[in-house]
Amino acid sequence: MENNKESKTILELKNVTKRFAGLVAVKDLSLKMKERTIHSLIGPNGAGKSTVINMITGLLPLTDGEIYHRDTKISGMKAYQIAQTRCSRTFQNLKLYRSMTVKENIMTGMMMDMHQGFLPFMFDFKKARQEDKAMNEKADLILKFIGLQELSNEYPANMPYGKQKLTELARSLMLEPSLLFLDEPAAGLNPSERVEFVDIIMKVFESGIDIFLIEHNMDVIMNISDDITVINFGSKIAEGTPEQIQEDPLVIEAYLGDRYKKEHGKGGRKCLK
């Protein structure tokens, strides 16, 4: 995957601020994410990372600032409208549909590509069947891509946490996003699950989807990120490549700690293979 420096900006935050009652969770944050990159947002607990994704995807209104997805101003739009610009996401705390099977969960990830309206659905049985078939096939394809075929009729509550996280990832792919937001995808996974998940994330990226990632696990972050933005108390304290971030004294002080620097050498995606 080459990475020329002039690539287009696909996501831009301009002076974004979020205030909860007295607390300023995100403060005057600006950042640009380039096309065909994995861009990571890191920072200590409570730094405001999830709040950033929640604002971008429309689940929280901004207090101030603007957000653009490609040329579309998405700040101020409703969450479902933002999703329709081909942004999808997973959640830090899983939000699966517990009364549906894995496959039904995944199929529900996408309604807007199924164009048949309700009244046509009631009367045009043939078209309805075709659409249902197309939706099933798409879900089967994604199940296979993620490696969940065997669990397709299982209910989330009966599966290990790692598989539930994969189900949520699969659901987010159903929307055929061009930009995918992952909020701590590796949290709570055991080491082997984590390796599996990182492989899948790379597969997703290589299939053409750009990824905006929040993650605490530094192995994951330093290995797969192209660019990293670091925030602390809602403000940006650094940005750059994994190599630059690992050397940044501010970041080491606020987040990584000295220990990290000693234990780890070079970062960058090359190390993965």
Partner: protein
């Protein structure tokens, strides 16, 4: 495929039983009960969309049902319009109620729908009682004509049963299709996790209003069928207790599934009749049974047969 075949076979057996049952029944009271079961099935199937799937409480069945019944009854008696047309008008009334009540109360989350529908029901009841010139007040509307096909009037209970069975089957089939489609899944997703379905590009408000409109249309159709069956309407029975009874059917049968809805409607219509002998204790016993269901079988009666779904979540 296998599961679908099984569903189909069970459905055909049930339809077969429903079709031959009247051949063994001559007692008019029992036939009457069976017609009532059909009407209740239609109402519960409708209620399933908004309360069972999207999880919004509708306590206005009484008001919606009686609006359907009165629309049909008044148009038929005052202007002599064919009852079939009245049935269609009742369905249109359902759409009006669904959008009219749904639009203000379902765009925001919370318990607004429960409150609006209770209020609506009370207003309907007061208006039906007091607009004496139009509705006949407490005395109600009488001599509501029966349905007829090619000049044949459906007057006998047995005939009406078969006619309504056909209508109920169409509505059951329709409900089954919706529940098992992208629409049903999206409705259910709204209850399970509104933020997630929202982030998947679905306009929750619009879907909730759609689900409620379906509910309302099923209820007004049931109201119309009822009015043309009994031949008279008065407002006295359409209070909150009436509405709650349908929520009970929904809960007992199994929220979300069509088969559960049908089972709940049959059970809750028939069991009270069997419990008649305990008279005053009836409501007490019935409430206890309902409570036990809610505690021990939160997914309804049918979850007994569906191991996977009954796994505690």
């Amino acid at each position: 495929m296998k599961k679908q075949n099984k569903t189909l076979i069970i459905a055909l057996i049930c339809i077969g039983i429903a079709a031959i049952l009247p051949l063994f029944i001559s007692n008019n009271y029992h036939l009457n009960l069976m017609i009532q079961v059909l009407i209740n099935i239609i109402i519960v199937l409708g209620l399933n969309f908004i309360t069972g799937l999207t999880g919004q409480m509708n306590l206005g069945t009484a008001g919606i049902f009686s609006m359907g019944a009165y629309t049909s009854a008044l148009v038929a008696t005052k202007s002599g319009v064919n009852p079939w047309i009245c049935l269609i008008l009742a369905a249109v009334m359902g759409i009006i109620i669904g959008v009219g009540l749904g639009y203000p109360s379902l765009r925001v989350s919370g318990v607004y729908l429960a409150l609006t529908t209770i209020g609506f029901s009370e207003i309907v009841r007061v208006l039906m009682t007091n607009l004496t010139d139009l509705t006949g007040g407490a005395l109600g509307v009488n001599n509501i004509p029966v349905f007829s096909i090619f000049g044949h009037e459906f007057r006998e209970n047995k005939e009406i049963y078969y006619l309504y069975l056909v209508i109920a089957l169409l509505l059951i089939f329709n409900a089954y299709r919706i529940v098992n489609s992208k629409w049903g899944r999206s409705f259910l997703a709204i209850k399970d996790n509104p933020e997630a379905i929202n982030a998947s590009g679905v306009n929750i408000a619009k879907l909730r209003i759609m689900a409620f409109t379906l509910t309302a249309v099923y209820s007004t159709i049931a109201g119309s069928l009822y009015a043309h069956y009994v031949g008279f309407m008065n407002p006295s029975a359409y209070n909150i207790e009436f509405s709650i009874n349908y929520v009970v059917m929904l809960v007992i049968g199994g929220i979300g599934s069509v088969a559960g809805n049908i089972a709940g409607a049959i059970l809750v219509t028939i069991v009270p009749e069997l419990l008649r002998f305990i008279e005053n204790y009836y409501w007490l016993v019935f409430s206890i049974i309902t409570l036990l269901f809610v505690i021990f079988l939160p997914n309804g009666m049918l979850s007994l047969f569906n191991k996977k779904k009954s796994m505690k979540k």
